[in-house]
């Protein structure tokens, strides 16, 4: 072998491709995912709104200028600072008993988010359990679950929730439990269909072939593949639960005074709606912001996790 040949061989070895380079599909998928996230304005807006409100809820004691329950009868029904007769001490004015409206709105974020996430979690537990069982086992279990679904859909949810909250005794936890216990159909429908599809696939058959137990298959093969869809439904359900709580509290069969719930604040402000419209306008705008944030995030997550379903 001549010297020239040696250098040639060395050069070839240096530029040869690294052995066994498996393309990293996970990394590619993650990259594609973030690319879609960056291109989706609705998703970003929704996430920003929810994160901001989450921050408001967590830091409420530092953000609120006053105690949300402190009454001062001398400063009742003050208008917001920028209108005539307003004061900068009470930026968004005060309510019927002289409580700072901004502080109540800030603390109200906590109630709405706790109810939203709490109720959506309870519904998730019920709906996903039923949906996965129906989809995986099929047959009689599926018929039974589908019958449950049809029956649940026939019930007038809001009226039943009102009656139950009233007779059990209205409190935050009762409201969360009942809203959650009545809102699981969406999870069920979505997870049932997907589980039916997943159980036909090869990797489930493979897991069964190597002797995985039913529980292992459900937890390690089926559920991880449903996660994306469950998160999307969860996001929407947060918004639905927030609106349900607001409606219950507005009707007087939800969160009780003096807790600052946005729905309750609208009910309290309703008496003065003609002279002090901001008492009704502001909490409604807060509700709208939270729910639209959740819905935009849900729509966005659905778009980026399953782009094929866009239209």
């Amino acid at each position: 072998m001549t010297n020239q040949d040696k250098t040639l061989a060395a050069g070839l070895a240096a530029t040869a491709p690294p052995p066994a380079a498996e393309p990293d599909f996970d990394a590619q998928r993650r990259q594609a995912f973030w690319r879609r996230v960056r291109g989706h304005r609705g998703l970003q807006a929704g996430a920003a709104i929810l994160l901001a409100l989450l921050a408001v809820a967590v830091f409420a004691p530092w953000l609120a200028p006053h105690d949300p329950n402190a009454q001062s009868l001398a400063y009742r029904l003050l208008p917001p600072a920028w209108s005539e007769g307003g004061s900068w001490t009470y930026l968004l004015g005060t309510d019927q008993v002289g409580r700072d409206y901004l502080s109540r709105l800030i603390y109200g974020t906590r109630i709405s988010l706790v109810v939203g996430f709490g109720a959506a979690s309870i519904g998730c537990l019920i709906g996903v359990t039923l949906g996965v069982c129906a989809g995986y086992f099929g047959g009689r279990i599926d018929s039974l679950v589908s019958f449950l679904l049809t029956s649940q859909l026939a019930l007038p949810g809001l009226l039943l929730a009102m009656a139950l909250v009233f007779i059990i005794g209205p409190s935050l936890w009762v409201v969360i439990g009942i809203i959650g216990g009545l809102h699981w159909t969406y999870y069920l429908v979505v997870t049932r269909t997907s589980t039916m599809r997943l159980r036909q696939l090869d990797f489930v058959a493979a897991a069964r072939a190597i002797g995985s137990s039913r529980r292992q298959i459900l937890w390690h093969e089926i559920l991880p593949n449903l996660l994306n869809q469950i998160i999307v439904v969860f996001t929407f359900e947060v918004g639905i639960a927030v609106l349900a709580e607001a409606a219950l509290s507005f009707l007087g069969v939800g969160i009780q005074p003096p807790t600052p719930s946005w729905g309750l604040m609208i009910a309290e402000g309703k008496m003065a709606i003609f002279h002090r419209p901001w008492l009704v306008v502001l909490p409604g705008m807060a509700l709208f912001l939270l729910v639209i944030g959740a819905n935009l995030l849900g729509d966005g997550l659905r778009d980026v996790t399953s782009p094929e379903k866009r239209n």
């Binding site: 029956s151 026939a154 007038p156 009226l159 009707l251």
Partner: protein
């Protein structure tokens, strides 16, 4: 066709039974109805007397059985809170709610279907985005708040419609607007998705090739097929409007079934509430059944499959 209808009817009856049992169970487990009637601080003797008089001391299944047997015969019991028979109460309060639900459905149809059609004709255009934006916003607005905003706008600032009451059809305009808006997003999205699918189908392409354009293509070929699922969703939405009327009725002081239910709840009249919830469920089940049968009549594939 008859077989399909009978099968569906059987299912509807089963669902009605399940729903009645669930409501009975939930409302009776959650509370002691005798205590509710007597009041929180009543003497134990009085509670015991009421329990016996109303038959609340009988075994649960026996009570459910006789309640159901009465209900099936059309005997809905008496309301101790309203001092009237429940069937009389329902007859008196049903007309405003029916009027409201039908007007709300009209609002939904008049807003959602044109919006969905316009959006579907130009997918991903500015018009489509606007329509979707309207749907997303409508979904996020609390409907009781929308009601109050409309009151501020159209009863106070521009006094066109009365603030509350149910004595003329003008009284129903704002409530119907609120109740109708809540169904707009679902119906609009469905119209849009259905029409986009149909517009891409072979028979629409064939119709295009034969020279059909514009409204004619839409009305004679595309919409006719896209309308099927919309009809059934509308029927379901109408059923939901009865139960959903409670908020709107209480804001606008319409003396309908929703408000009757709320007042019965606040008056602790559990047997009446139970019967009202059952009636709302029956209306919903009936609408669903009619939608199924109608769909099967229009589409042979459904009744065969």
């Amino acid at each position: 066709m008859l077989r399909f209808a009978l099968k569906r009817l059987g299912l509807a009856v089963l669902v009605a039974l399940a729903v009645s049992f669930a409501t009975f169970l939930l409302l009776n487990l959650a509370t002691d109805p005798a205590q509710a009637i007597a009041g929180e601080n009543a003497e134990p003797e009085l509670v015991a007397q009421i329990r016996h008089e109303y038959g609340f001391d009988r075994p649960f299944m026996e009570r459910y059985g006789s309640w159901l047997a009465d209900a099936v015969r059309g005997d809905f019991g008496r309301s101790y809170y309203w001092h009237d028979s429940v069937s009389q109460l329902v007859l008196k309060h049903a007309p405003p709610t029916i009027r409201l639900a039908l007007m709300a459905l009209m609002v939904t149809v008049l807003v959602a279907i044109p919006l969905g059609v316009i959006a579907a004709l130009r997918p991903n255009s500015a018009v489509d985005r606007l329509a979707l934006g309207i749907a997303v916003s409508a979904q996020a607005i609390p409907n009781f708040w929308l009601g109050l905003m409309l009151v501020i706008l159209f009863s106070v600032m521009l006094p066109i419609f009365p603030v509350s009451g149910d004595t003329s059809w003008l009284h129903y305009v704002l409530p119907a607007l609120v109740l109708g808006t809540s169904s707009v997003p679902a119906v609009m999205r469905l119209t849009r998705a259905g029409l986009i699918e149909v517009m891409g189908s072979d028979y629409v392409r064939t119709a295009r090739a034969k020279g059909y354009r514009g409204i004619e293509l839409l009305a004679r070929h595309a919409l006719r097929n896209a309308i099927l699922p919309i009809v059934s969703v509308l029927a379901v939405q109408l059923g939901q409007k009865f139960g959903g009327s409670v908020i709107v009725e209480s804001i606008f002081a319409i003396n309908g079934l929703g408000r009757l239910t709320l007042q019965s709840i606040l008056g602790s009249d559990i047997p009446t509430v139970q019967m009202l919830i059952f009636i709302f469920a029956i209306v919903f089940i009936l609408m669903n059944f009619l939608a199924d049968v109608l769909n099967a009549l229009l589409d042979p594939r459904i009744r065969m499959g």
